[in-house]
Point group: D2
């Protein structure tokens, strides 16, 4: 599949469509886009942390959701409005302090549904794994 | 099962353990606790919103997670440290503007695992449904 | 919503479309259909059992899937071909010997997607809970 | 992690503990076990099929469950009784006629919980993806 939006195009789209994403600082950065995959890096600050300096579950969920959304838009373009219909997330290990990566991979990109696998990693460790379904509007 | 923490005890616990929850304003309020169930109300502000004035998926996820955590602590007390190991959330409808309720119900509260069902409602509408598993430390 | 297929119509449809369902004996019986809900009873035999006389996970999954499918067809009629796209199932307790009920409830029945909650019970006990998404073909 | 049970040991264990697995013919065959992974092949017969000669959802679920169970036992040995507590499965494409592989990979193998990712493939195609949680008894 062709890449319809590159990193710069996605960054520009997210800045307009989801200004809350980086309100108060550059926390989420799209780091790469390639066929069937996209990666977003989160640089957490105190708002994302739980006691013990661990990143909160909802923050990891948000990172997974952004990464999945990015890989879909990269392949269908900015005109489409995909909506998350379902996400399952497994929390595996506590992330270490420092940046966290969400790497999304397309399992299926159909006319109506996309299914995306997301690996959330901290250093070498897999800290969470998620699978998400998105509804794709008629194109 | 006996209720070991009432609304006031849970509010005090969350204020200490999760100060981020209501940083910048009182957004999450525990409204009721009873046998096997607890409800949290979210009064969203601009930080929780997406374009179209809809509440973001990660915000609904956070509400579901808080409600599930509240009902577990209500029944096992504040000393236990439960950890979310898995959550599946289905996004069903766009919430209307206004408060959103997360109502958690215990499906199972075992020695090692708790499974909780959470209904997220906006007015009369069910906007999301989630099922979560928590790991319960040895007591 | 109107009920487009009653118990007899569903039984006839399943007998034709899914003859494997009751190959070798009447194991699955649709017991009731009403607005937004349908119930199927499983009378397990040795093929459904695991050591310890417990019903196998795949058998509970199949019961949940049948019940969800039944409630959808009851409301959209036999012409539509719904396909399971996603199911999450939580196994909560070991079922007792004897019949097992799968009770499906519609959480959402949209034009393109249906989301169904299924409670699997054995006597008074909730033994499994599932949530399933079905893709609905254009009508 | 060391492999505590190889293919032959797993086959012998399953034949004793789950005789239903291959009742009526050799349908499930463990084809490989290695660090963090195991693969089971299903050779479907008419009992596993749906109209259109496609393999049923519950059959794919059972394959995923067996593969996950095999990779856990391979790493913790036959004495442990692991129980599936949760499985999420996404059905992506209709499988072609012929053998289907379930390849399980360990995401986490903790003292109390294991989380396993399972890819279900038919030829070159990914037909389903599942994530399962197992409760591990105290060792």
């Amino acid at each position: 599949m062709a890449i319809l939006m590159d990193v710069a195009a996605l960054e520009a789209f997210f800045a307009t469509a989801f200004p809350q994403m980086n309100a108060g600082g550059q926390h989420y950065t799209i780091t790469s886009v390639a066929e069937n995959t996209a990666t977003i890096r989160l640089d957490p600050d105190h708002r994302h942390l739980r006691p013990g300096d661990t990143v909160s579950g909802p923050t990891l969920f948000a990172l997974a959701d952004f990464a999945a959304y990015a890989v879909i838009l990269a392949h269908i373009g900015p005109v489409a409005l995909a909506v998350t219909t379902n996400m399952t997330i497994n929390f595996l290990r506590k992330p270490a302090l420092g940046p966290i990566l969400g790497t999304a991979q397309i399992l299926k990109l159909g006319k109506r549904l996309a299914v995306i696998d997301i690996a959330v990693t901290s250093g070498e460790a897999l800290v969470a794994q998620a699978t998400a379904t998105y509804s794709i509007p008629p194109r």
